[in-house]
């Protein structure tokens, strides 16, 4: 099998779409007259920006699930940690403009009668430090967790369940007031970022463009990884872990590498999410959120990076529409999607479309088709 190209047709189409959105959405908001058919409200810009950060999060899950068979039900934890790192910077940016007008301490700490900043808040007044933490904290957690889990060969549903326990434990911990992350209410009331007010249209447009750029960069990184030799080893681990190990590959190291990279991407997504949504609270750690991310990937198409991003946008657009229109239907819809997609659309919307296109007689693409790729009994010969 020849190595796949870094940029195949689908990737080019995907990147072009991102570029078009990155230009068109801010233009429609800033340049078009309010009231004209082309005008896009600032709310919509932030909403679309949020979808893009979700798309980046879905990419990170697809990288490990679609290409390495690691089903993480706790990826929301890395997303939320990145979000908290950015939220801490935004809290420090508020400075003396808080309700209690304390020069250093955020409002909730004044409220709790704390007299000094805890050590883990040090340095977050500097933007570069916060950006570093956005990547390092989720990365470090993923590294430690993955090192422990993969070395002990915790796989399959066991791994899924303990990743869920991880995010559940973090949720409980962040709900505590004395953790110093705002407890129940989380971090909110942000004022500005790098001196630009978060309320202004221009800043919102800027954040949208930043999200689009991050999505494109994340896509290229994933694409680079999966088209490299390393990516082919990952796929072989996904399809037959034991065989890859017997062939001499250090399976743990490959898994650990890709898991850590994926957590870092999730952290970046969280960091871009927080200023656009304006709040981060422990609810982001809830296990249900993390499971939802996986379904975005499944809807769009597992193992097709663009598919994951597409799935995230599709499902969240549906969520926005349905929860506004008939909230009680939303859970029926989401539940139905979980069931129907796993049974009838194992390759997701994009995978299904591609297959349909192939059947219409177009030139067959040389691409890898994921098999029923888990540690299931039927897929694996006796070892």
């Amino acid at each position: 099998m020849t190595a796949p190209r870094l940029l195949d047709t689908r990737s080019v189409v995907f990147l072009t779409l991102i570029a078009v959105a990155a230009v068109a959405v801010p233009m429609a908001n800033l340049a078009a007259e309010p009231g004209s058919a082309l005008h896009l409200s600032s709310f919509a810009v932030s909403l679309f920006g949020k979808y893009l950060t979700y798309a980046l999060l879905a990419l990170s899950v697809d990288l490990i699930w679609g290409y390495c068979g690691i089903l993480s039900l706790g990826h929301g934890a890395f997303f939320a940690l990145g979000g908290y790192a950015m939220g801490m910077h935004l809290m420090r940016e508020i400075g003396p403009r808080g309700v209690y007008a304390h020069p250093v301490l955020p409002d909730f700490m004044v409220f709790l009668n704390w007299d000094a900043l805890p050590w883990y808040w040090w340095g977050f007044d500097m933007f570069w430090f916060a950006c570093l933490m956005v990547v390092l904290v989720p990365g470090a957690l993923a590294f430690v967790f993955g090192w422990l889990a993969f070395r002990s060969r915790v796989t399959g549903v066991y791994l899924s369940i303990i990743t869920q326990a991880l995010t559940y434990a973090l949720m409980l911990a962040f709900f505590r007031n004395d953790m110093g992350f705002g407890g129940n209410n989380g971090l909110t009331d942000f004022k500005d970022l790098l001196g630009f007010s978060l309320q202004s249209d221009a800043t919102r447009a800027g954040l949208f463009v930043a999200s689009a750029l991050a999505l494109a960069a994340g896509f290229l990184i994933c694409r680079f990884i999966v088209t490299s030799r390393l990516g082919q080893v990952l796929v072989s681990i996904r399809d037959a872990e034991a065989r890859a190990r017997f062939l001499g590959y250090r399976v743990e190291s490959y898994k650990l590498f890709v898991f850590t990279i994926s957590a870092m991407m999730a952290g970046v997504a969280g960091a871009l999410y927080v200023p656009q949504v304006g709040i981060i609270n422990p609810g982001e750690f809830s296990p249900a959120n993390s499971i939802e991310i996986v379904i975005w990937v499944a809807v769009g198409g597992r193992g097709l990076l663009a598919g994951a991003a597409l799935g995230a946008i599709l499902v969240n657009a549906a969520k926005t529409l349905l929860t506004g229109w008939a909230p009680e239907i939303w859970l029926f819809f989401l539940g139905g999607v979980f069931v129907l997609v796993t049974i009838f659309l194992p390759r997701g919307v994009l995978g299904g479309l591609t297959a349909a296109g192939d059947r219409l007689g177009r030139r067959r693409r040389r691409e890898y088709r994921p098999r029923t790729a888990t540690s299931g009994r039927t897929t694996q010969p006796a070892e």
């Binding site: 070395r151 915790v154 303990i162 409980l172 979980f338 029923t372 009994r377 039927t378 070892e383």
Partner: protein
């Protein structure tokens, strides 16, 4: 001395106004304003002797300075603050008379000596009450007040007390009063022994106070007593934690055991398990509503009726999930996990749409309400019966797995699916039945949980992570693993809680399990053999 005065007063009342005893309470109350403090003391004693049920209320009002003599007609009224203004009410009946202006009445004054008389009279009044419950309450009040002046009254009451419980309470009250008095050391030592035997937090505080007394001998005796009480209390505290742990463990086991067998046999995780538990709880609710409407007399049987129904409802839904969803995802455990999660969302929303999002009221039958005590630990009946029930379900399941043909087939499929199939076991039937059995047990768990938890559409979600932890910790496909896992986690959680707080204890437990999985990736009781190696 005061006691002497009171006795004197009593005697005087008896002798001088021999009619006082015969006088009704109304007449005695009317005499209160007249004369000086000595006269008042006599009337108080007479009121105490009247044996009237309403006497205590009058004396309490008098001690609180709420009794007034109206200037107009000299009538005695009780002034009660009601929404900012004082209202006059009859001191005996409580009937409202009218507003009480500042100048309408004169307060019936009491001095400290009278207040002590009243307290003693109140103590004596209730200590002698014909109602054992009131005597018990009086003894408890004396214990809390620890007034040396009450010792005589207690002695008198003890002399004619026959009820052992009240007697014990009076002895305790006497010991507390002795500790507060200036009685000789020997008596105080006896009192210390009595308090050590009582051994609760109040006894501890009395002993702690006595241990700081300037009298060295007494302080040493009290200190020894305090150490003893603390040791015994620590022991009981451990026992109490153990009980809480067992109780939590039984709940966890009920929630997890159904999950454990379906996970064990099919290797799939049923994320809708918590919702099947919730369905069981709602079945109980529906049964109880039906009983309330049709035959209220059967209410104590409601749980017995709900159990088989809950088993059938949840079991049927479980079989439907297996036939409708899991069968199509055979051999893809991760996809099964996602699909059953979808089912759980649908079930939650369905229940929310039908029954509404609020908590539903599920009552306890009479035999599950209340609590009983063993030593210093209180055990509620519902927790007790749930523990028994959990163990019964466990025993039943064990019998099904070990003694029935179906159990044999289930174990065969758990150990080696292909081999079992080759031997003629219809594995798809075994799958469906196992799933149904696990779901049915979830329904049984729901009936039990409806007794201790809020019955709401979110009931299942609260248990899902915990029950997974039990399964992962205990090991798959092994009932003993689920038992050991549930009780270990329950006990560890409850022993951590007093030190770390409820939330942190849970976080620590999850971290512990995550680390534990590194050591034993297949749980505490891992199945051994070729087939489970993947």
């Amino acid at each position: 001395m005061r006691m002497f005065a009171l006795t004197l007063g009593l005697l005087a009342a008896l002798l001088t106004s021999g009619a006082a005893l015969a006088q009704p309470l109304e007449a005695l109350v009317a005499q209160l304003p007249a004369g000086g403090y000595p006269d008042r003391a006599r009337v108080i004693a007479a009121i105490a002797e009247s044996g009237d049920d309403r006497a205590a209320g009058v004396l309490e009002a008098l001690a609180a300075g709420e009794l007034f003599a109206l200037k107009a007609d000299g009538r005695v009224v009780r002034g009660i603050e009601r929404s900012g203004e004082t209202v006059a009410v009859d001191p005996l009946t409580g009937a409202e008379i009218g507003p009480l202006g500042r100048r309408d009445g004169e307060k019936i004054k009491v001095n400290n000596a009278l207040r002590r008389d009243i307290a003693a009279a109140l103590g004596a009044l209730t200590l002698m009450s014909p109602d054992p419950a009131r005597r018990l309450a009086a003894a408890a009040r004396v214990f809390a007040g620890a007034d040396p002046g009450q010792i005589e009254a207690l002695d008198a009451a003890l002399a004619r007390e026959t009820d052992p419980a009240v007697r014990a309470a009076m002895m305790d009250a006497r010991a507390a009063s002795v500790m507060a008095s200036d009685r000789p050391l020997a008596e105080k030592r006896e009192a210390i022994d009595r308090l050590v035997a009582r051994g609760d937090r109040d006894a501890l505080s009395i002993l702690t106070a006595a241990a700081a007394s300037p009298d060295a001998a007494l302080a040493a005796a009290a200190e020894a007593g305090r150490a003893e009480v603390e040791r015994v209390r620590a022991l009981w505290g451990t026992a109490q934690n153990l009980w809480y742990g067992l109780s939590l463990g039984s709940v966890l086991m009920l929630a997890a055991i159904g999950l454990a067998i379906s996970f064990g046999v099919m290797g799939v995780i049923n994320m809708a398990h918590g919702e099947l538990v919730m369905l069981g709880a709602y079945t109980t609710y529906v049964v109880q509503e039906a009983i309330r409407a049709a035959a209220p007399g059967l209410f104590d049987w409601s749980l017995a009726i709900a159990l088989p129904l809950a088993f059938l409802v949840s079991g049927a839904v479980g079989v439907a999930i297996e036939r409708g969803v899991c069968r199509h995802l055979y051999g893809r455990p991760l996809e099964t996990l996602l699909a059953t999660w979808g089912v759980s969302l649908i079930l939650q929303q369905a229940v929310r749409s039908v029954f509404g999002p609020t908590n539903k009221e599920v009552g306890n039958p009479s035999w599950m309400s209340g609590a009983f005590e063993i030593g210093q630990i209180a055990i509620t009946w519902n927790r007790f019966w749930i523990l028994i029930f959990a163990l019964a379900v466990f025993a039943l399941l064990l019998a099904v797995l070990k003694r029935t043909p179906m159990g044999l087939q289930m174990r065969a499929v758990t150990q080696n699916r292909r081999m079992a199939a080759s031997m003629g076991v219809r594995t798809d039937w075994v799958d469906a039945l196992t799933f149904g059995l696990g779901a049915g047990i979830a329904g049984l768990a729901g009936v039990a949980l409806s007794q201790i938890d809020n019955v709401s559409p979110n009931l299942g979600q609260g248990y899902i992570v915990d029950s997974f932890m039990v399964v992962v910790f205990g090991g798959v496909g092994n009932l003993w693993g689920a038992l050991a896992g549930a009780f270990t986690l329950g006990a560890v959680n409850k022993f951590l809680e007093p030190h770390a707080g409820a939330v942190l204890a849970k976080v620590l437990l999850l971290v512990f399990i995550i680390l534990f999985i590194q050591r034993r990736p297949r749980g505490l009781f891992a199945l051994k053999g070729r087939a489970v190696e993947q």
